[in-house]
């Protein structure tokens, strides 16, 4: 994957922003008798990579479509960079600020890669050299420069996905909305896609990304929102979420007596729960201390001459948090 320098126009476009890139208030969307989104208050800071997670039918796509102006809300308001969005007559300059890649990334298969991007660049009023430069930049950014003259139908799924992404950023939007962009991609393509998102993040673009691949989101996102049954049940920076909701476990393996180990461990205050696995000779403890205190624990066990063969720390993943929070809160 080629790491490119941030395009000058992109950096310029994102240099002066209000703090919140996206803000929704009481955002609700009903489809006949079905409420797809219910009273969602969402704040996304400028330059954040915001991951939206939730099961199928949770309202992720609806939320993204509402932000992209592809749907209008039943109730509620949306502010982009502090400016209220008028759905009846969307402001053209706000349309220019949005880049949107739906989950099915429809393409014009009969066009070449260059013509496709050229067409969308023109739709967003890019002219002359600015347009050419922008196409070159996004092609480099998504690593499709070598395919510029290829007909789209000949591209692989991963390439098409990246081309879709290139299309959505051709006009240098300040907000990028990606609806399950890595679904159906192989691991290599996913890794490439992650790299592209990192590049965009480095350019200061605010990215809202929904995905079922939580490990990808954990790696990419600065903040996470969890949707369940149309409700936003959690929205916080990733670090805060981990600190607040992720539990740390330490697995200790010994060749000696497990009871001795348990007795020794009970002297420490930071242990919340203790689970023994006699067959493996292991003890798994829920640990609330910081890394220094974990080191103290290890030192104390060694000094107590307990024959250790394993001592490692585990943190609950985003997936664990999702299962823990998502279902309990919404139900």
């Amino acid at each position: 994957m080629t790491q490119t320098l941030p395009p000058a126009n992109l950096v310029k476009a994102n240099s002066a922003r209000t703090e919140l890139a996206i803000r929704t208030q009481h955002l609700t969307k009903r489809f006949d008798r079905y409420t797809a989104l219910r009273d969602v208050d969402l704040d996304i800071e400028s330059g954040a990579v915001y991951g939206l997670i939730g099961p199928n039918g949770a309202g992720k796509t609806t939320l993204i479509r509402l932000l992209a102006m592809a749907e209008s809300p039943t109730v509620g308001e949306v502010f982009l960079h502090g400016e209220k969005l008028h759905y009846a007559r969307p402001q053209l300059h706000l349309k220019q600020q949005i880049g949107y890649l739906p989950d099915d990334f429809p393409l014009y298969e009969d066009l070449s890669v260059w013509d496709y991007l050229d067409y969308f660049a023109r739709l967003y009023d890019l002219k002359g050299k600015e347009r050419t430069r922008s196409i070159h930049q996004v092609l480099d950014l998504v690593n499709l420069g070598h395919k510029r003259n290829s007909i789209i139908t000949s591209l692989s799924r991963g390439m098409k996905q990246r081309l879709g992404l290139a299309r959505s950023i051709i006009h240098t939007p300040s907000i990028l909305l990606l609806d399950e962009p890595v679904s159906g991609l192989d691991p290599v393509a996913r890794q490439e896609f992650r790299q592209v998102i990192r590049n965009l993040h480095s350019l200061g673009i605010t990215v809202l990304i929904s995905s079922h691949v939580l490990s990808d989101l954990a790696e990419l996102c600065t903040a996470i929102g969890i949707l369940e049954f149309g409700c936003l049940v959690e929205s916080a920076p990733l670090e805060t979420l981990y600190q607040r909701l992720s539990q740390q476990h330490i697995v200790i393996g010994t060749r000696g007596d497990l009871k001795t180990l348990q007795t020794e461990l009970r002297q420490f205050d930071n242990l919340l729960e203790l689970e023994t696995k006699p067959q493996a000779g292991q003890v798994k403890i829920q640990f609330s201390g910081n890394p220094d205190e974990a080191a103290d624990l290890l030192r104390a066990l060694v000094e107590a001459k307990i024959p250790l063969y394993e001592f490692h720390s585990e943190k609950e993943s985003l997936e664990d948090i999702f299962f823990k929070i998502g279902h309990t809160q919404s139900t």
Partner: protein
């Protein structure tokens, strides 16, 4: 040189793409080498087939065996028939004034050919054709006396005398195939013959008749000469070829090419546009276009100009031949340009309508069908128009002039002004209703088209930017209704001096008004969810200001459309009723309203029309709000049936009462109660009942929606 030209073209394309990216995209996607070559080949092939077909229809090379001597006009003499056993009296018309004289006096004019208009050097012939009458007696040929004397006719060898005279006449005027003509006869071709004739009314007179060579060949494109039954081709003076009626030949080519231009534009063009939008919808790419900052006008104009570009190319290649054919047919440049201009405007109206219908269809099954349906609909519409405006209905003004409106949709209407009147004579009659010349017709067609662009553009703009919004803004609907009523009344004004057309006007007012009101129902009805949102919004309002409610109902787009449709319907019906009655009041249709009872019936019918539309609207809106799947299908079906049933009923009943001499006989009751009062009160009760249900339904919906949101 070529490189510079290529560069210039590319730069121009680039500029074009900057102003309309959609157009550039469509051009790039369609103007591929294969499709362009195929289009050019098909278009040229088509022209070749047309030309070859018409070429084959010409009489072909001259066959000398078929050529004989004749005159123009060709005259068949009676008298020589006395030689046949068949008596002359059986061959002559019974009412011929000088029949007895003809029987007695030898050679009289029997049949005179009635040839098609002949151009060129047939001046003397035309004069003779106009002068000679059946039964005129032949006195002299080239100054020599040809009257058989009484002795000749009554003598013992009268037959041989008459035969001799007949031979003399035949020698100098007609007879024989070319090869059997004597050298003297052959020399006579191209000369003239002076005939002195006698007519009881005009006395003696002389006409000059040219001798010409004629063929026994018959062909539609020949300059024709011959008897009534046998229209033979005339032969050129040099006897080398047939004389062809080239203007007529070119005229037919022009008409054929016009059909080849109009119907593909309407059929194939509509299909291409509808199919393209259906594809965009299926693929999901239409969403991107709607989300882009470009206006609906830019995107949709790019579609209209770009999607059928191959069709435009094919039609464009037909134009030079079409133009040449028109000029050679003798049509003026102004007429030819006028046809193109009206065609352009009318095609654009059809294309905008296609885009609107395509954008409005969301059903996935319909997406596949709609290009076929719309294309077939466009072709059928123009075919019906072509045949209808050319039918005998217009010839004798059997229909209301309200229908003249449709003439403005037909590109062939302009033909009435310049194509040979034998072809679309009835269209000419139809347009005669407007009492306008060609330039005024073109202006009228342009204004009519612009009149369509405004509402279509308004609806396209709305539908493109938001697929859930109503097609028509309610503020816009009231002036639109006003214009519609004025157009209807204006068209009826053309026949305002004909009281017999009163009924027809009323029938067409009802039908057109019905179509308009149904279209209005569709265009003003918000989506079910939008209506529900509005009910919830109204329910959640803390202060219930009646003014804001009426504002919502009258000019808001999300509220129930019943009131707005009712106002439009009342506006339309009142204007048309007052207008129609004013014609009567000011002396037009002075025989239409015979007594005050008929005026009452007329007003009752108008009220019933309003009631029916209101009832249908309430029915459809109530069904739309029912919590069942596909409620819009029920809403459409029941709404349409009630729409059709009630106004028709009101019309029929109105006519029955209007025309019945003794209306009290109907059901043995008071006529107004039996025929109008009863249905009116029934309709009123039903509408009020359903209206109450609808209001209750809306209030309940608002409450339940709010509860669901708050829960």
């Amino acid at each position: 040189m070529l490189g510079t030209h290529l560069l210039t073209t590319l730069i121009n394309l680039d500029r074009l793409g900057d102003s309309n990216p959609q157009l550039l995209r469509e051009l790039k996607g369609r103007l591929k080498r294969f499709s362009v070559v195929t289009t050019i080949v098909l278009s040229l092939l088509c022209q070749m087939v047309v030309m070859l077909s018409f070429w084959a229809a010409l009489p072909g090379p001259l066959v000398l065996d078929d050529v004989s001597l004749s005159t123009y006009p060709r005259i068949e003499w009676f008298g020589e028939t006395q030689l046949s056993p068949e008596p002359v009296k059986d061959l002559l018309p019974a009412d011929m004034a000088n029949r007895d004289r003809a029987m007695q006096s030898g050679f009289v004019v029997g049949y005179i050919a009635a040839p098609t208009p002949v151009r060129g050097d047939k001046g003397p012939g035309i004069a003779a054709l106009n002068a000679i009458q059946q039964g005129d007696r032949l006195i002299k040929i080239d100054g020599q006396l040809k009257i058989p004397s009484d002795d000749q006719l009554t003598g013992p060898n009268w037959q041989s005398q008459v035969k001799s005279l007949a031979g003399t006449i035949g020698e100098q005027t007609a007879k024989g195939s070319y090869l059997s003509l004597t050298p003297q006869q052959q020399k006579l071709i191209g000369t003239t013959i002076d005939l002195e004739l006698y007519n009881a009314e005009r006395g003696y007179y002389t006409v000059t008749v040219p001798r010409i060579a004629v063929s026994h060949k018959r062909n539609p494109y020949c300059l024709k000469v011959g008897s009534i039954r046998n229209k033979f081709c005339s032969v050129s003076q040099d006897r080398q070829s047939y004389q062809i009626n080239w203007p007529q030949w070119y005229s037919h080519i022009y008409i054929c090419l016009s059909l080849l231009i109009v119907f593909p534009l309407m059929g194939v063009g509509v299909f291409m546009l509808a199919n393209n939008l259906a594809d965009e919808k299926r693929r999901g790419t239409l969403n991107f276009l709607q989300l882009s900052p470009k206006s609906a006008f830019t995107i949709l104009s790019g579609k209209v100009l770009g999607v059928p570009v191959c069709l435009y190319l094919a039609v464009g290649l037909l134009l030079p031949l079409h133009w040449v054919a028109g000029l050679n047919a003798g049509y003026g440049i102004g007429h030819l340009l006028g046809f193109y201009l009206t065609l352009l405007c009318q095609t654009l109206v059809v294309y905008l309508g296609t885009l609107l219908l395509s954008l409005s269809v969301a059903n996935s099954m319909m997406l596949g069908l709609q290009p076929w349906l719309l294309s077939a609909g466009a072709i059928a519409f123009h075919l019906i128009l072509l045949f209808y405006v050319g039918s005998s209905q217009f010839e004798h003004y059997l229909d209301s002039t309200v229908l003249l409106w449709f003439v403005l949709f037909s590109p062939f209407s302009s033909f009435a002004y310049f194509v040979q009147p034998t072809e679309p004579a009835n269209i000419a009659l139809a347009l005669g209703g407007f009492q306008i010349n060609f330039a005024q017709y073109v202006m009228l067609a342009l204004i009519h088209a612009v009149g369509w662009y405004l509402p279509l553009g308004h609806m396209l703009e709305r539908r493109f930017s938001n697929s859930t919004i109503t097609l028509l803004n309610r503020r816009f609907s009231y002036p639109l209704t006003l214009i519609f009523a004025i157009v209807m009344l204006g068209l009826a004004w053309i026949q305002a001096d004909n009281p017999e057309m009163g009924h027809w006007h009323l029938i067409w007012f009802t039908i057109m008004g019905l179509i308009y009101c149904v279209a209005l129902m569709v265009a003003l009805s918000p989506a079910r969810q939008t209506l529900k949102d509005w009910t919830r919004f109204r329910h959640a309002l803390t202060s219930h200001e009646p003014l804001s409610l009426w504002k919502d109902l009258l000019i808001g787009d999300a509220s129930s459309p019943v009131i707005a449709i009712a106002i439009n319907c009342v506006l339309l019906t009142s204007l048309m009723t007052i207008g129609f009655y004013s014609y009567h009041n000011y002396g037009y249709y002075h025989n239409f309203f015979q007594n005050s009872n008929q005026v009452t019936v007329f007003i009752c019918c108008a009220i019933m029309f309003i009631g029916s539309i209101l009832f249908s609207t309430v029915v459809s809106q109530t069904l739309l709000m029912l919590p069942r799947k596909k409620s819009w299908v029920w809403c459409g079906a029941v709404g349409s049936i009630s729409c059709l049933a009630f106004p028709t009923l009101s019309l029929v009943m109105g006519i029955v009462v209007f025309d019945t001499a003794s209306p009290t006989q109907i059901l043995g009751m008071s006529p107004y109660f039996a025929v109008l009062g009863l249905p009116l009160s029934l309709l009123g009760t039903l509408t009020a009942l359903l209206g109450a249900i609808h209001i209750r339904q809306l209030m309940r919906s608002g409450r339940s929606e709010l509860q669901q949101l708050l829960s």
